[in-house]
Symmetry: C2
Subunit: 687 residues, 2 copies
């Protein structure tokens, strides 16, 4: 499948995502060739390891910088290579940034009409004593954007309603289940208990009970729905404001509206399906406080996470279990179980923590108050990258917990830190090769055979699935988990850049990781995934920045390593120019490209507006945008229609996935068509 | 004179500027009272100095933190006071930021119609093969701002023309001089030589020669003027684009125009008199390279400036002069002159460097490519502040040249640096008290009696002034040299904050500095200065940020000092919270206020537009803006009219200044009226 077709099929987010791995190949294949042609012979003939043969050196070190004796002029080769590698990486990064930004511009230009092109999210609407929020918004924009304002959509605080809708949904599901049971076995009417989850309380007829419950909740829901729709206090001080043209929306999103810059804050509205509804109404002061709290929490999580883990691990020891649960004594002391508990449980605790970590980080990002799922993903990726950098990369090189490292680094001088870390780098090459094989390769293998979704599917199927609809929900094909996989890929960029001049032997492993990932994710995107939102590669500046950070870390560490090799001060000092140039390159690219990913140029908006006026002069934009931004619960009624399920064999895993993919796509399409009632382009709506 | 009247008289820039000193009083008077009430008794009764009486302690130390013995619980008082001082400083800073931002909004709202309100500076216009720059601009804005675009003003590369105009000006001046000579003494016609500055060449009649020369240059100038006006290559790829309304200009200035974010870059046009014409046409890549070069140059200037100074000082020694200029031997070896050279010359070199430094920094800012004088001033102030921070503050505390400090800091651990500096802080209190008296107080005294302008005036009067017009120019009243005085004031903020918890005795000196400065600058602004531009206090975010930097430095240094006092680890750690909170406060204020100083809210624009439509419906904006942004040389003819000089006694200095102030104000008014032909509000122009 060529790239333009792939973009049509899966969106630019997915295409840009697999380009991350392609970028890895573009950077590291030439670097590997050059390193093997130049650095490996230079290192190999260094004969340092042979003369100092002791236990600290392995055979890999014969190919690494450790094999070059101190004071040798051979290190000049490493310095020159570091320069070439830096320039090559920057060149590829620049080209790639350019390509992605052009793709983004083209993608946005070629996009069909979408509600978010005309809509701006306004937050922090100040309270007004005389007017309701709706009136206030109406008046403000009628005055300040007189020629362009079209309408606005109030946002309701529908948390309670959403809860009731969920409850109703669950009750209906149970009813279907019991009715199916009764159909299959018409002799006995199914019974249930009135308490929670049918566990306690009076035993009653299940079908009748659920019908009654549904009626009760339905009434409650209707009452709540009316209350929310009529109560002015249920409207939060935020709104989706729509404009007559893309130009008007672009202008409103990029300008400051009010004298007080924290009121009437405008930004591009996310796609309707991308909106994170809970975060739309946080005032500025609370947002600032939340960010401070999360920054402090992030610091403690990164540097002190081992403390609670160690505590839980101590609880999971045999002795502790014996003490707290004496009745389990006989079970625990069975030989097989004992060894499992001793060997497996402590590691399991850490493994569970690492699996849960992205969820914790996502929860933290939610507290920070970003209004869209895509922003939440991007911010969570940033946090996860920091965590991996500190705890996996530096944590593996400088042994000891992150906090001990931090303490040691604070007590060391600024010029000592790169030396300490740099010296340890060549010794850890074997460890990282193993890490790439165990974590990197197997991680992708697990992804391609989709072990985790398979296990989850079977668990759900056994314990939770009661109706066909449940099963259909359980077989969610999933989507790119950007906030988990991108930071992991960044670790391999970092390893590749750090080891390219030190132990080039690691490069083939990294290249095979990128090649493998590229193939697999391409396959998954074409055949499996179903993206939840489309941001037209808005995450690329983050990817670019993190690779630059990795590049600068690699330069500083090489500088630290070389300054311990007795080759005078001048050669390492030449390396000091590299991080300065790299930082300048970062600033240059930021100025050159970043606003393509943040702002929407008026030129583009004008072109699209003109084109639309020419092709579709009778468009009723007001009707088109009427219900674009409505909280999902107000579409509850439509959503309850059971989607068409194709009856296919579900035993084969792959075919199941393909089927569900197709089903859920059609499902999501039917959903999204309920979001955008006017999206059918064949019949132009009548004004 | 109350503040609103002062704003009308001198503009908001001046008012905000003297509020910097007022802010100093607001911060330090309560801090001083509290410090004298709490810390001085605590320190006084510490009795550390009495027991360790040796040479390293002075009497001032009895009132400082040095008098408290290590391990004493009295340090708790310093920690609590540090908290109170921080909260008080932040509170005052917040209030002041709020006041200044409200003043700015009101000032902008109450401003009369000005060309820059309707105008946007567009830079980096891409070349077009089919169209000239003017046509390209016209077409681009007609398409992308169809309802709002009014007209544009091309910018000519008039460097050569400006040179010719200057030459012509000088020749006319000489002609007047010789004619006056001839009038006074009609017997001998004045003679001159044809070479440069009349130093060599054939001797000719001065009046005839100058008349001929004027004719020649006049022809050349006319030719050049026509060439510039007709040659399309003389138009630089930048333009002043005007809009029909303030709303249209505000929108254009704040949005991205083109797909490529470094083309068609828009920003608010500076006032016509604030434009720095030479920098309008620098392409993005060159700008980025220039910034890198200047950043590196700034680093070397800050840390290595002593190397060329020391070299020049060695040249200025007796021995060197004797060697290079043997014929001066007898002169030098006179006893009086010898001592002057030995004692005075090396210090003089440093002094001259310090006096020239702001000019060097200004030249560096010009290379960075900012398009207005006000931005140049602000950026130069930032550079100067950094230089003072490194070379005066840290340079005085940690002895040795800046480079030696840098080297020492790099070799020290991150936790050692605050200790090293913190420990030295109390010992340097006496030095800084002297510094405040010598540099701070005398600096202001020099300012009030205007020693430098007086000397310059008399020098010019003796050597350069030939006609009345020359004398009038030599008595320029000057303006606030923001880029020099603000960074110096920042040093006293820093000293006050650092010493408030350590040696409160320094506070009265700082308070008197601020009080003195406030009075003097207020007087100068009312009676002397004549501002060159008006930015409505756009510099305030810089002032705010630098005080916050000072606050954070003071917290870290106190933390370093206390961690050497054997009071356990917990008490200093409590201080670690302060810089984090302060940084958060900085971010909070940035989000809350900064865009008031950067952007122009659409709400304001709409209000002003509506008001103007109501009061002046027949305004011919096109005619009003026609010549607003024309390079000054194209107004050369108007500028040559001699301004009316009031004949007053010039012997008394003060009256001279007042007179020239008034004259030059009237002069600048006549100038500015030539800049803005429609600014006369009494007679509404006819459409």
């Amino acid at each position: 499948m060529p790239e333009p077709e792939l973009t049509d099929h899966a969106g630019l987010d997915s295409v840009a995502y697999i380009r991350i791995y392609l970028l890895g190949l573009k950077i590291f294949v030439p670097i590997a060739i050059l390193a093997f042609a130049v650095l490996v012979p230079v290192n190999w003939t260094g004969n340092m390891v042979d003369t100092n043969r002791d236990l600290t050196y392995s055979d890999i070190d014969k190919l690494s910088i450790s094999n070059v004796p101190s004071g040798s002029l051979r290190f000049l080769a490493h310095v020159i290579m570091a320069y070439i590698f830096t320039f090559w990486t920057c060149y590829v990064l620049y080209k790639e940034y350019e390509i992605v930004s052009i793709k983004r511009v083209r993608f946005i230009a070629s996009e069909k009409r979408r509600p978010d092109q005309f809509t701006v999210l306004v937050r922090n609407i100040p309270p007004d004593t005389d007017e309701s929020v709706s009136e206030h918004v109406e008046h403000f924009f009628c005055v300040n954007h007189p020629d362009h304002y079209l309408q606005h959509q109030a946002i309701y605080n529908a948390n309670k309603l959403a809860k009731l809708v969920d409850e109703l949904h669950s009750l209906r599901n149970w009813l279907t289940y019991y009715e199916t049971c009764y159909e299959r076995n018409p002799k006995t009417r199914p019974m249930t208990k009135t308490g929670k989850w049918g566990l306690y309380g009076k035993t009653v007829d299940a079908i009748d009970f659920h019908k009654e419950e549904i009626d009760r909740i339905l009434k409650e829901e209707t009452a709540e729905r009316e209350k929310v729709m009529s109560d002015p206090k249920a409207i939060v001080p935020a709104s989706f404001v729509s404009f007559r043209s893309r130009w008007g929306a672009a202008v409103c999103a990029q300008t400051q509206q009010s004298r007080n810059p924290v009121l009437w804050v405008t930004e591009w509205a996310p796609e309707p399906r991308d909106v994170y509804w809970d975060n739309l109404a946080i005032p500025y002061v609370q947002l600032a406080v939340n960010k401070l709290i999360i920054a402090v929490a992030m610091f403690f999580l990164t540097f002190f996470f081992m403390i609670p883990i160690a505590f839980v691990q101590s609880l999971a020891s045999i002795e502790h279990i014996r003490k707290v649960f004496p009745f389990l004594k006989s079970v625990i002391e069975m030989d097989k179980l004992k060894s499992v508990i001793q060997g497996f449980l402590p590691g399991m605790v850490l493994k569970i923590f690492m699996a849960v970590l992205p969820l914790i980080l996502m929860a933290m990002s939610k507290i920070e108050g970003y209004p869209s799922l895509s922003t939440l993903d991007r911010r969570t990726a940033g946090k996860y990258h920091f965590f991996i950098l500190v705890n996996v990369f530096f944590g593996s090189i400088v042994t000891g917990s992150a906090f001990q490292q931090l303490h040691r680094f604070i007590d060391q001088s600024a010029s000592e830190i790169p030396k300490t870390v740099g010296v340890a780098i060549p010794m850890k090459a074997t460890f990282f090769i193993t890490y790439i094989m165990v974590d990197g390769w197997s991680g992708i293998a697990v992804e391609v055979i989709r072990v985790v979704p398979l296990i989850l599917f079977h668990l759900k199927n056994t314990f939770l699935v009661k109706t066909d609809k449940d099963r259909e929900q359980a077989t969610d094909p999933g989507c790119l988990t950007f906030h988990v996989t991108e930071p992991r890929a960044q670790l391999y960029f970092l390893l590749g850049l750090v080891y390219s001049a030190v132990t080039p032997l690691i490069l083939p492993f990294i290249i095979s990781y990128f090649a493998f990932s590229y193939t697999i994710y391409r396959h998954q995107i074409i055949n499996v995934y179903d993206q939840k939102y489309e941001t037209a590669a808005a995450f690329w500046p983050d990817v670019h920045r993190r690779i630059i950070v990795g590049l600068m870390i690699s330069q500083v560490l090489l500088l630290g390593l070389l300054s311990t090799k007795d080759i005078g001060k001048s050669i390492p000092l030449i390396l000091l120019i590299l991080p300065i140039l790299t930082f300048w390159f970062y600033q240059f690219c930021k100025g050159r490209f970043e606003s393509v990913f943040v702002k929407f140029p008026l030129q583009e908006a004008t072109i699209k507006d003109t084109l639309e006026r020419a092709t579709d002069p009778k468009l009723n934009l007001k009707a088109y945008l009427q219900d674009a931004y409505v909280h999902p619960v107000f579409k509850g009624v439509e959503m309850q229609e059971p989607p068409p399920i194709e009856e296919e064999d579900r035993n084969s895993i792959v075919s199941t996935k393909r089927t569900t993919n197709r089903t859920s796509q059609s499902n999501s399409r039917s959903n999204s068509s309920s979001f955008r009632p006017e999206i059918v382009y064949e019949s132009p709506p009548i004004v």
